[in-house]
Amino acid sequence: MVFLLLTSTAKSDIHSAEYTSEDLIARIANGDQKALAELYSQTKTMVYGFALSILRNKHDAEDIMQDTYVKIYASAKEYRSQGKATAWILTITRNLSLMKLRAGKRTDAPTEELWDPPDTHDSIEGSINRLVLETAMTTLSDEERQIIMLHAVTGQKHREIAALLQMPLSTTLSKYHRGLSKLKKLLKEDE
């Protein structure tokens, strides 16, 4: 449930964190848009981050983020609770992203215009964050990038990530370690 805590905005409702995604989806199935807004604020970083890690393009990731929530709204009725709402949401994100990828074949030129130029008001912290994200986006393999991003933004277990990406656990483990080592090395050179 780490993702519940990732969102630092929308704190006006103190009770918000008490709603689980499961409850929210049940309410969304009845057409409750407030529940959708709540689910959105709880999970948007995760959804956007995962889409970004597949698509490597901010604009596409933003589109997929919208599509994901519209799809959640349209198909919440069909959701069968298994205590894994996160997995369900991420599966939708993944399917929509892969479809977009196939339709557009946009993967080949990630860099430049897709990454905003560093904001001059960026704090030091902010520019380090950006550097790490850029390095991850431009140097990791597709699978490494997705696995590491999922760890960073969802707090899911290796096992859950393996299931989501339809890979053997051993593969996700080794890609996770290899990818992180790669990043560590590259970021060290930059320091």
Binding site: L5, Y48, Q66, S75, A136, G155, H158, L187
Partner: protein, 525 residues
């Protein structure tokens, strides 16, 4: 920068980047509500989780000029409705009521009116032209036309013992009618095949008009029905490419479908697709076992199934022994081994078992090479991983351990014992809290080397107190405390989670040694 810091920076970067699109989303959801209130029935045929129901025209920032954008949204919604709810064709005698695609390899598209008379029969490829040669199906009853077409396919050898799969796709704006027609045609064709003593597989589905799919179908010269099926498979498996699967005959697609049938909704299948063009699962198993130098009785099979990879039909065979996991991919037609992967589990007692692992130096030797290089003795370090792996096509041992707060990572050639790569890193304790809060048992620098024999774990209570100590809290001050024995990276750990005020704490504690492997605190400010 250590691993945890990298993940944290990544998280923060994404969090800062995440755009706010809630208004657009809600606006769009309202359009869906309106559509449903007007009494359209959601067709059951499009409810697979992978079907795109959202058009690409959903774009950012349309909510500024509400009036104008509402009109735009209405047209977007209309486009979405066309996809979601199918297109209305109207009534009269000459208007199309349903479209039916028959695919074997020849692909024929039939359009019928409400009385189920054929309005047109269009060949979609060269084979279909041959099948349709000289037939005038106009105004013929659907049943008779289908009968004639299947008969012609049998006669021309397109349906045979080797390739016996037929795909029937029905498109009608009325979901109930689609389903009914789908069922009737499917059983008609099954009977027809049986009467001709061909045990065929009949795959049937109902489809909805979908612009994206239509474009794909046109691009690859296949029927909308086949495109829908291919799309379905592609969305199930990231390795599949539309172009590759579109080129496969329906029989291969059916074989792929049946190897994962329980995962696919909205497609029904009767009969068994013929795999006689391929070596078969048992033969595939036997080839893999022979290569591994093992007998069937000494292994446990995880799977042996027909699949499609890198443009060809393959068998994927996976099995394991007590210490080793084997993964093979064989060419389905020839039985040739395309790739294999042998993965030795951590901390197995002897290197026995796998045929060709015998030539490797062994985990113990790999460990000692790494230790030597690091100038450390086995008793002063804790191993986190020793694993046979393959990297860039060569077999290596991955050895990871730490001593104090230094992390070592080695890659050692499994045959020669040469060090290919190593990485040494001092891990700072990055969580905002230091060890100060606790009375110690938690400190990772006091390493009593614990052998990896896992019989004696420290217990949940101890794990709990280690974590609480580290956080400088007592049990009465925290809520939602959870302790769970888990496995991470192949080692047993206790997962301890709790909340205090607005901070979430998440610990991973070595189940044997009690060291804190991961300490995570997340402030919700």
């Amino acid at each position: 920068m250590n691993r945890k810091q990298i993940l944290t920076h990544l998280n923060k970067a994404v969090e800062n980047d995440t755009p706010d699109t809630l208004e657009d989303i809600l606006l769009h959801c309202e359009q869906i509500d309106c559509a449903q209130q007007k009494g359209y029935n959601m067709s059951t045929t499009i409810t697979t989780p992978d079907t795109p129901i959202i058009s690409d025209s959903l774009k950012r920032g349309q909510n500024q000029k509400t009036k104008r954008s509402l009109i735009k949204w209405a047209s977007t919604a209309a486009a979405v409705l066309a996809i979601v709810f199918g297109t209305w064709f109207g009534y009269g005698h000459y208007s199309v009521d349903s479209i039916i695609d028959l695919d074997v390899n020849p692909s024929v598209e039939l359009k019928i009116n409400r009385a189920e008379k054929i309005l047109s029969a269009t060949p979609l490829n060269a084979e279909a032209e041959e099948i349709l040669d000289g037939m005038d199906l106009k105004n013929v009853d659907l049943d008779i036309a289908v009968n004639a077409l299947i008969g012609s396919m049998l006669k021309n050898g397109y349906v045979s013992d080797m390739k016996n799969s037929i795909l029937i796709s029905v498109e009608n704006p009325n979901a109930q009618k689609s389903a009914e027609l789908q069922q009737r045609l499917s059983s008609d064709v099954s009977n027809l095949l049986e009467a001709n003593s061909v045990g065929g597989a009949v795959v049937s589905q109902t489809i909805s008009e979908d612009e994206q799919l239509k474009a794909l179908a046109e691009k690859y010269n296949i029927s909308l029905g086949k495109a829908a099926l291919v799309q379905l498979l592609v969305s199930q498996d990231a390795r599949f490419q539309f172009a590759d699967l579109a080129a496969l005959p329906i029989n291969d697609i059916t074989l792929l479908l049946s190897s994962r049938q329980n995962e696919i909704e909205g497609v029904s299948m009767s009969g068994q697709a013929s795999s006689s063009a391929y070596i078969g699962e048992s033969k595939a198993k036997a080839i893999a076992l022979e290569h591994a130098g093992l007998s069937e009785s000494s292994v446990t099979f995880v799977k042996a199934k027909l699949d499609f990879d890198d443009g060809r039909m393959v068998y994927e065979v996976e099995f394991y022994t007590s210490s080793t996991e084997y993964e093979y991919e064989l060419d389905a037609a020839t039985g040739q081994i395309i790739t294999y992967d042998i993965d030795k589990e951590q901390n197995n007692s002897s290197p026995a078992g796998g045929g060709n692992t015998a030539s490797y130096i062994g985990e113990a030797k790999a460990k000692s090479i790494a230790l030597n290089h690091a100038g450390l003795s086995e008793s002063s370090v804790t191993f986190t991983k020793t694993k046979l792996d393959s990297d860039d096509g060569r077999v290596v041992y991955d050895v990871e351990f730490y001593s104090g707060n230094v992390e070592y990572d080695y890659e050692i050639d499994a045959s020669s014992g040469n060090i290919l790569k190593y990485d040494r890193e001092t891990e700072e304790h990055s969580s905002s809290k230091s060890h100060s809060g606790g009375d110690s048992s938690s400190s990772s620098s006091s390493k009593t080397t614990t052998p990896t024999t896992s019989s004696s774990f420290i217990g949940e209570a101890k794990a709990k107190s280690i974590a609480l100590n580290h956080a400088g809290l007592t049990e009465s001050k925290v809520s939602r405390l959870k302790v769970k024995l888990d496995k991470d990276d192949g080692r047993s750990v206790y997962d301890v989670e709790f909340y205090s005020e607005n901070i979430e704490y998440d610990y991973e504690i070595d189940a044997s040694g009690g060291q804190i492997l991961k300490a995570d605190s997340d402030v919700d400010d």
